[in-house]
């Protein structure tokens, strides 16, 4: 009687399962995974997730197929006698070599891919005061917006528009925005989910993140760093609007907040008020 080649069987099942599941995951599941395609950065994150899903699907299937195959095929059916041990395991140099080669290739590819993606546009993350992945300023310089976090709200300052500070955030469509994120007290994190932006807000630090907007949309803003009793309430709703709408909005904000603007200090990358300035 011919002995069954389990390895070949498992390989075949895995190949069939991967051939069916991987395209489904790449073309059906991954594109609808957040944060969506609202900006260049968020769309890039969707692409990154798609690559990771595409790679991890066959790997996950290999584990699942082998596990189920072992449970079903290698189950001890005869329970009347003593459970016998199987044949002794021996090393297989070929399998070991392929194991090392394939896993090394996957890890090196992901390291290279991640590095390239990060260096291309920063992937919407905070890059500190000296960003490596800064967009070219040859054509249009990015619109600079300062995000000021404090316990427990975000406000936004526009140095290009008289240094006006606003309660809510509106930014123009089809524009590269330079978000300068800082804090006045403890550590916060500015997370504009649909924009694909997440940057820590540290007191005395200027954390720069870039985002290039596309079509108008509404986005959620949340603090993503536990910052005190009202952390869960530290949220806001922002809007990407047309350039004309933004021009009208920022003009209205300058008018509305003219009294407060007179009291504001000159625009600065950071504001670090005296921490001992206490009242009571």
């Amino acid at each position: 009687m011919n002995e069954v080649n389990h390895f070949r069987r498992v390989l075949l099942i895995w190949l069939v399962a991967s051939t069916i599941a991987t395209p489904l995951v790449i073309f059906v599941l991954a594109p609808i995974v957040p944060p969506g395609n609202g900006t260049v950065e968020s769309a890039g994150q969707v692409t990154d997730n798609t690559v990771l899903f595409g790679l991890s699907t066959p790997i996950a299937l290999a584990v699942i197929v082998w596990f189920l195959y072992a449970v079903i095929v290698f189950r001890e059916r005869d329970t009347s006698g003593a459970v016998l041990d199987g044949p002794p395991l021996r090393g297989d140099a070929r399998i070991q070599m392929w194991w090392v080669v394939i896993t090394t290739a996957i890890v090196l590819f992901l390291a290279g891919y991640g590095t390239v993606r990060l260096l291309s546009d920063g992937s919407g993350g905070g890059q500190g005061p000296n960003p490596i992945a800064a967009p070219s300023q040859a054509k249009d310089p990015p619109l600079r917006v300062q995000v000021i976090a404090q316990q427990w709200q975000f406000t936004y300052r526009f140095p290009g528009y008289g240094g006006v500070e606003t309660q809510h955030l509106e930014i123009p469509a089809h524009t590269t925005i330079e978000l300068n994120v800082t804090s006045l007290d403890v550590i916060h994190s500015f997370w504009a989910y649909q924009l694909g932006v997440k940057a820590d807000a540290n007191p005395g630090e200027n954390n720069i993140a870039y985002v290039t907007t596309k079509q108008p949309l509404t986005f959620n803003i949340r603090c993503a760093e536990l910052c005190g009793v009202w952390h869960g309430y530290m949220f806001d709703t922002g809007r990407v609007v047309t350039k004309a709408q933004f021009a009208a909005w920022i003009s209205a904000q300058r008018l509305t907040y003219a009294p407060a603007t007179k009291s504001l200090p000159p625009y600065s990358n950071t504001y670090f008020p005296d921490p001992q300035r206490l009242g009571g």
Binding site: I148, Q150, Q151, W152, Q153, T155, E165, Q167, H168, L184, D185, V186, G228, V229, W230, Y233, T256, Y257, P259, A260, K262, S263, L264, P265, Y271, P273, P275, R277, L278, G279, G280
Partner: protein, 221 residues
């Protein structure tokens, strides 16, 4: 009863006691909510009177903590609650008797009132939009609806300052009043933005992070 049976009974009993204790702890924690005070209706406008003091009553669990209070229109009755019940989609007229000294704002932007009817407020009867950020003592803000009103502090030169609640109007104080429209039904938090918690890191510990002192809720019903 065998020793095995006795052990089983004891283990079951101990497990039941522990489960009941845990259940009680969780139940008491979840039901231990601060009290609330309903604002008074006069005609179409609802009136809410508040007071701010540099320190709570001497009998308070935290007698050195700065605090908001609900007060009567003449500031004779003081109630230590910071959850206010207000009607939905209505005009609410708020009057705050402010007895505390100035501390200054960390963010001068908040020195301007926002979200009030007319975009202004009354400071001792005079309509104004903003104050000097260094003169701010406290802020009454409901960030979810964009309401923020700065409260000017009693000057350092005040002859008759009040130190602990309750404070009659005969003590030096500032009177701040404004009107705002309540949102739809729901629970909204309010807070002070001045780092006024003396003795705490960055002025934002203690009373600034404890419901019942410098923050609370408005229950819109």
């Amino acid at each position: 009863m065998s020793s095995y049976g006795r052990r089983l009974v004891w283990v079951t009993l101990a497990t039941a006691i522990v489960c009941v204790a845990i259940g009680l702890y969780i139940g008491l924690y979840l039901t231990n909510v601060p009290g609330s005070v309903a604002a008074a209706h006069v005609g179409p406008v609802t009136n809410l009177y508040l007071g701010t003091v540099p320190a709570a009553e001497p009998t308070d669990p935290h007698p050195t903590w700065v605090s908001y209070y609900v007060v009567s229109p003449t500031s004779t009755n003081w109630q230590h609650d910071t959850t206010f019940v207000l009607p939905a989609n209505s005009l609410v007229h708020v009057t705050i008797y402010q007895f505390d000294g100035d501390s200054g704002l960390r963010n001068p932007f908040i020195s301007q009132a926002t979200g009030t009817v007319g975009g202004a407020f009354q400071l001792n009867g005079k309509t104004t939009q903003a104050i000097d950020p260094d003169d701010a003592s406290h802020v009454f803000a409901i960030p979810q609806i964009g309401l923020s009103v700065p409260l000017e502090g009693v000057p350092d030169s005040a002859k008759n300052p009040c130190s602990n609640a309750p404070c009659p109007l005969s003590y030096d104080h500032e009177t701040i009043s404004f009107t705002f429209r309540t949102p739809a039904k729901g629970l909204y938090r309010w807070q002070c933005f001045v780092p006024c918690a003396a003795g705490y890191m960055l002025g934002f510990g203690g009373p600034m992070q404890t419901v019942g002192y410098m923050d609370g809720f408005i229950k819109v019903v």
